[in-house]
């Protein structure tokens, strides 16, 4: 069996893979190579290097393992038509992502930006007010693997968690769960609104300027899902008018954020350059998911972890 990696993993991880699967024919290439593609039965990719043509060439391909969570850049229809199994590393982001979200929330409440700024100026200045996270109400848009982990951590800080998903079916570590259609009734209740929603037809431009008007004036809005959840102009307008207290953004309509983006000019926003799911332990964890799946696959078991519904986008 031939497994084709379109990236080159760390030597120690590669070695352990070769050692654990001596019967597999592994190929590691830093980019897509048509010749290799034509021979591969399994493809391991970050998910940004595939198109319709690649799927056509990859005539033996049966399984794509995506070493990331997002698949919006993948040629979904072509893959679905061929019946190629797609699985990803869903869940791998949950620890680092949730830690980043908590880091930003606690930093705002406990005035870390102020502390750093005074230190930069070499000034001893106690003239500030500190707040607490505990006792807040958080709305979590998309209480999936990451959202539930965020919920778990928030509950440890005595934050009341309200999940919002399509079905309204209860999700782990949510005190309540509601349907997306109830969003407008829920927004005014939350001190914190966190989106970890994927990009789908339903979530694109889901939030508008009007939604920010519905939020509390002291609300913190966090977008750690996908940048097209809200139009940048709507967000900027809401922040300029101080409809909410602060926004923490990790994703943007256009990335990288352009130099002339109005977001840079605002004082009530934190601009994180889409790095919040990153971790020094990322690749190890990808391999921890990939290896048991590969073992199953070799044994003819197609019930592998994190199988995706590619046409639905998750």
């Amino acid at each position: 069996m031939r497994v084709y990696f379109t990236f080159d993993p760390r030597p120690d991880l590669k070695e352990s893979l070769l050692k654990d699967f001596p019967d597999v024919d592994f190929v590691f290439h830093k980019r897509i190579d048509d010749e290799q593609l034509a021979k591969a039965e399994v493809l391991v990719t970050y998910g940004e290097d595939l198109d319709d043509r690649a799927i056509e060439i990859a005539e033996k391909l049966e399984w794509i393992f995506v070493a990331s969570a997002g698949i919006e850049k993948m040629p979904a229809k072509a893959i679905a038509k061929r019946g190629i199994v797609v699985s990803n590393v869903r869940g791998i982001h949950k620890r680092p992502m949730a830690e980043s979200i908590l880091a930003h929330l606690l930093a705002i409440k406990r005035v870390l930006p102020f502390i750093y700024e005074q230190q930069r100026k070499k000034q001893w200045n106690q003239q500030t007010k500190l707040y607490e996270l505990n006792g807040s109400v958080a709305l979590i848009l998309g209480p999936g693997a990451i959202g539930s982990e965020v919920g778990r951590m928030l509950q440890a800080f005595d934050v009341y968690t309200i999940g919002v998903n399509r079905s309204g079916k209860s999700a782990p570590f949510m005190n309540e769960t509601h349907q997306l259609s109830d969003l407008k009734q829920l927004l005014p209740k939350a001190h914190i609104v966190i989106s970890i929603l994927p990009s789908t037809e339903e979530t694109k431009y889901l939030l508008t300027y009007e939604d920010f008007k519905l939020m509390r004036e002291d609300a913190i809005f966090m977008n750690f899902g996908r940048g097209d959840l809200v139009k940048t102009e709507d967000l900027i307008r809401a922040l300029e008018e101080k409809q909410i207290f602060h926004a923490v953004l990790d994703v943007y309509e256009e990335e990288p954020l352009t130099e002339d983006s109005g977001l840079w000019e605002l004082s009530n926003v934190t601009i994180s350059p889409h790095i919040s799911s990153r971790s020094s332990r990322y690749l190890e964890r990808s391999f921890d998911i990939f290896k048991p799946s590969l073992r199953k696959w070799m044994n003819g078991d197609r019930d592998i972890e994190n199988k995706m519904e590619i046409l639905r986008g998750y």
Copy 2:
């Protein structure tokens, strides 16, 4: 009965006090007044305005309620000699303090200083490495009310907690608890060393340069107890030599930190100006402790909350 406040609380809190205790004669003064002091049976203070002379004048004084946690500036011997009861707001700091400690830890792991700095420069820069808090081992020096709350939060992040106290008796939310005399054996194990120790004869200059040499090179040291835990020169030397990765300081040998302190020059330190226990909810919570104690006191019950052993310093 006369209750003398040497500070002037927020109007709403004052009103609720007057309403709840119509039989008590309250006096609110922003500073110590000899005449009032001589008449007071109960004194409510932040604990920094008393000396031997004040205790002598306060001849009717039976109870001092200290609306802070530290009492090192109080004339302990004079108070003990008179048998005056001292109680404080121990526990009031635990929520805000623990949130600050977690904020700093998560900020370092999830590179918030880097994110803020890039934003200040209006630069989109992803060239950095992010780490995770989970999986760390934390040594908590002083697992009391605050330390245990820190332990609780750390455990929610899957951090293994080792408490260190005088007796070695197990403390809440510590996976292990050891005696202070075992410290040198424990220091090399910890990714995070947090002190919340009070200032006593035993803790003064407890940590020396040698202890920092025992710590891991990637260790984060946090002093949120008292500044005389370690000599500033020892700390600076250890940081200059990168014996540890980073220090987060909220307390200092001398406060405010002087302009010419070598600490300002270091890149591997976070200088928080002794504000980490602060909270916009502080005074409300002090009153939540004071009122039931005052009720008990009026009923002749001396078994009030947070009674202190003033000669021992805690």
